[in-house]
């Protein structure tokens, strides 16, 4: 497949604007996960579109915000922001009532911060310039957590590997982020159910046909990005279910998902 031709075909614009057919959309998502150039091209267009849409912003009447708040019924309750969790320490996040909603709100803040980069372009609009300043303050206050996650996900050196479910566990899914320079490996769980207390998931790198342990983990409660062991090489990644604290090799009958690492 010719990546350059694909990128120039209009599929990017079509996908971002929500005009692609279901089939084209699925294909695009798969290819964008595989090829960073395609994901980058997508981001470039998204930013151009964002700039244009912001340029024709129309402020709504003041009472609209209040009405929305009444509908969603939010009150000022504390929420804990997620942090990157090192698997050796296995920190269990404290639970608040309604944590799921608040954790979502917290991760929302992290991704709003990525909106900061869109604002760099909006010079002529004074209102947006003011918001830029507010954004920077917000960003600095959550800097440690946000910048780390964003750095990982937006870094061009970082390869995304889509872990796809096996016959045994067709819906199991996760993403691996592998930094080709530092060789760091991170894991984001997408769909992996909790296990019985005597079991744990284990991540493996397959190198020259041999499995190498990259760490045991439990699926986190909120959207943390897990740091796994580094690996210099990997032909593929695999996740299995093992007994808690497994020191042996992988139980291949319990293979949950696999993903091929793109060749460097």
């Amino acid at each position: 497949m010719n990546i350059k031709e694909y990128i120039a075909s209009g599929i990017i614009e079509s996908y971002v604007l929500g005009l692609a057919t279901d089939q084209d959309r699925a294909e695009f998502e798969q290819l964008a996960a595989q090829y960073p150039e395609i994901a980058d091209a997508r981001t470039r267009f998204e930013l151009e579109l964002e700039k244009q849409v912001f340029a024709s912003a129309v402020n709504p009447p003041d009472d609209v915000k209040e009405k929305i708040l009444n509908t969603i019924g939010e009150t000022g309750t504390s929420v804990n922001l997620p942090s990157t969790v090192s698997i050796e320490h296995d920190i269990t996040p404290s639970r608040n009532q309604g944590w799921l909603r608040f954790a979502a709100a917290a991760s929302l803040i992290l991704f709003i911060v990525s909106g900061y980069f869109a604002y760099k372009f909006y010079n002529q609009n004074k209102e947006l310039t003011t918001k830029n300043i507010e954004l920077e303050k917000e960003r600095d206050s959550v800097a440690n957590i946000a910048s780390e996650q964003q750095k990982i996900m937006n870094d061009p050196n970082v390869m995304v590997v889509n872990m796809v479910g096996t016959e045994k566990a067709p819906k199991s899914s996760a993403n691996i982020y592998w930094d080709s320079t530092s060789r760091n490996v991170w894991l984001v769980v997408k769909n992996m159910p909790k296990l019985a207390s005597d079991k744990q998931y284990q991540l493996w790198a397959l190198i020259d046909g041999k499995p190498v342990d990259l760490g045991l983990f439990d699926p986190p409660d909120n959207k943390v990005i897990l740091k796994m062991n580094n690996t210099q090489k990997a032909d593929a990644f695999a996740i299995t279910i093992e007994t808690r604290g497994n020191t042996g090799g992988p139980t291949l009958e319990e293979l949950q998902s696999m993903g091929k690492a793109r060749l460097q």
Binding site: S9, G10, I11, E13, S14, V16, L17, G18, L19, E29, A32, A33, R42, T43, F45, E46, L47, E48, L49, E50, Q52, V53, F54, S56, A57, V58, N59, P60, P61, V64, K65, K67, I68, L69, T71, I72, E74, G76, T77, S78, V79, N80, L81, R101, A104, A105, A106, L108, I109, F111, I112, S114, G115, E127, K131, L135, S141, V142, I145, N175
Partner: protein, 166 residues
Amino acid sequence: MLQQRSDTAFSYLYDNYSGALNGIINQIVPESETANDVLQEVFVNIWRKIESYDPTKGRLFTWMLNIARNASIDKIRSRSYRNNLKNQTLADNVNDPLNLQVIKPVYDNIGLRKIVSQLKEEQRILIELSYFQGYTHEEIAKVMSIPLGTVKTRIRSALIQLRTML
């Protein structure tokens, strides 16, 4: 770990994005009161569905923009909205099997819609129908009596052209 109020998260979202989303809603739903209703619906949906936003698939704003566009289209296609229109001024076009009204919009002087109106007619119609009125490729092919493949190719060319004008 930092503590953050969840209503601050909402405020942040609303304060920074409501204008932009409202802009696109107003380009699709011309009546400002109805547009405000749509904006409310949109933010409630965004807040409730935030967990389904997948950052590996694109930026947060793109996800929100598509929610806003879809909600606007649903509104203008809704029976109550159409009934209101009929009661006011517009007559049905009898040559129009899908009751599809490709009227030249009076609100095409702002934003994305303004840029689209500068495309050559053949391309303008396709983007108008697909983006601003939510017609599928199949529906467009049927109404315009052109092959489905042609609809898709022309839309792609139109978008490529549109991008140079952004």
